[in-house]
Amino acid sequence: MTGTVLGAPDIARALTRIAHEILERNEGHDSLVLLGIPTRGVPLAHRLAARIAQVEPGFDPTDRAGALDITMYRDDLHRQPTRAIGETTLPAEGIDDRTIVLVDDVFHTGRTIRAALDAIKDLGRPRAVQLAVLVDRGHRELPIRADFVGKNLPTAKTERVDVHLEETDDADEVLISGAGSKGAGA
């Protein structure tokens, strides 16, 4: 299987649905903070925040959406070339007693999310942490699940899933490519 699995309208619909699900689950927006995991989780978190603000005018999408860099918490640092460290931006009031929704593009082994949970632990004590992902491709290696999923995408381990976004790649699309072919991005 190779090709585009989600186009721009599909991604837009999925994000709108997730935004509503987040509001339903949390009975409002009072304590919500959306933290994207770099690179592509960050624009996704901002898009979700903008959608929530459309429904709930009292929600400030610029303050409540941020970024959480997890590079220094990864468990595979020694196995990879040195990674550049991304930026972490949090709401001015911090994350204590907030409900954090972590946002990432592709949900795969769960190791990124484990690192994110460790990073959050060092930044404060949120009331709850939830997880929103655009694509869940399976193959979990840790007991972690997503609360909000844009699309479940059954894949083979050898396949590769690439999410492209306007903000980083000039197009909204989710691509899947077969075993052996290696594209750019993550």
Partner: protein, 320 residues
């Protein structure tokens, strides 16, 4: 990067990567929880053949904030003072499993020797070798300059900015590292020193402006920053080893006081690697003014050393 030995061989991309990484490290140091798990299980040895409290505790703080284990190995009261050779020390460190060695040595080239001899596999960070180089000091100075003088600094160098370095250029490894790094980052370098304290050949260099009094330099250049170097007591007078006639004359010709500081543009910053001789190379008024970034240099030093340790140690072992 495998080692951090000098700024001559440091590429512009690597230098900017260190500065950008240091900016993120500095951001983590403003949090309530300042310790990161990144280098857990790695061992960093501080190998100091020369006394240095500031640099050693700065490296120690940097390594500990990244959760590395730190072993301090200093000359006083150890085998180093009993005449053990650098080679035997290196073999000992190798046997102890040091992942990185931070070395300060009185001999120029000691860090290079340690890195290239094959005596040990660890990464080597030069924390000052003789009168040669002190690269992390130059990087923390560049980081401080960039933070104050470049808007939206991430990814940027020091293009077009002009910095004066004043004092003992001949013996200063701070100057030895700062001059190449500032040139690599696109800055203009002005050197101010007595003729006796300039390295051989520097006056022939066309990419450096040289002045023999601070007043001349202030007249000739619109400075964005000025770095005052420490005057070491042993260089002053007596026994035929003096490089200038008297401390008073040095202060008159090269000292930074309030009046001279006000002749610089309003945005210009004052740097000093410490420890300062107040009243000799810098007056209390200049050292304590809002334009002085001397205390900030210390905290930036920890961030830059965290970045250096991270970039050398965090990646896969095979990366050469």
């Amino acid at each position: 990067m495998r080692h951090l030995l000098d700024t001559d061989t440091l590429s512009r991309e690597d230098a900017i990567l260190i500065l950008d990484t240091a900016a993120q490290m500095a951001a983590t140091q403003e949090r309530e929880m300042r310790k990161l798990p990144t280098l857990r299980g790695r061992t960093v040895v501080n190998l100091f053949f020369e006394d240095s409290t500031r640099t050693r505790i700065s490296f120690e703080a940097a390594a500990k904030r990244l959760s590395a284990d730190v072993i301090n190995f200093s000359a006083k009261g150890s085998s180093l003072s009993k005449g053990e050779s650098l080679k035997d020390t290196a073999l000992t460190l190798q046997a102890m499993g040091a992942d990185a060695v931070v070395v300060r040595h009185w001999a120029s080239g000691a860090a290079h020797r340690l890195a290239t001899s094959g005596w040990m596999h660890g990464h080597v960070l030069n924390a000052g070798d003789g009168t040669h180089q002190h690269p992390t000091q130059a990087l923390l100075d560049a980081f401080t300059m960039r933070r104050h003088l470049v808007s939206e600094p991430t990814g940027k160098a020091l293009e077009g900015l002009t910095f004066a370095i004043v004092g003992d250029i001949l013996h200063s490894r701070v100057a030895g590292s700062n001059i190449p790094l500032l040139k690599t980052l696109g800055a203009n370098v002005v050197v101010v020193a007595p003729p006796t304290l300039l390295p051989y050949g520097m006056t022939e260099r066309e990419d450096i402006a040289i002045h023999y009094t601070l007043d001349d330099a202030l007249d000739a250049h619109e400075l964005d920053g000025i770095m005052m170097l420490r005057v070491q007591r042993e260089r002053m007078t007596g026994g035929g080893s003096g490089f200038f006639p008297s401390p008073e004359e040095y202060t008159r010709l090269f000292g930074l006081d309030g009046d001279r500081m006000r002749r610089m543009p309003d945005h210009a910053i004052v740097l000093h690697p410490g420890p300062m001789n107040r009243g000799l190379e810098i007056s209390a008024e200049a050292a304590d003014s809002p334009r002085s970034v001397i205390v900030e240099q210390v905290s930036n030093g920890v961030a830059v050393r965290m970045a250096s340790l991270y970039l050398l140690l965090a990646g896969e072992e095979a990366a050469e």
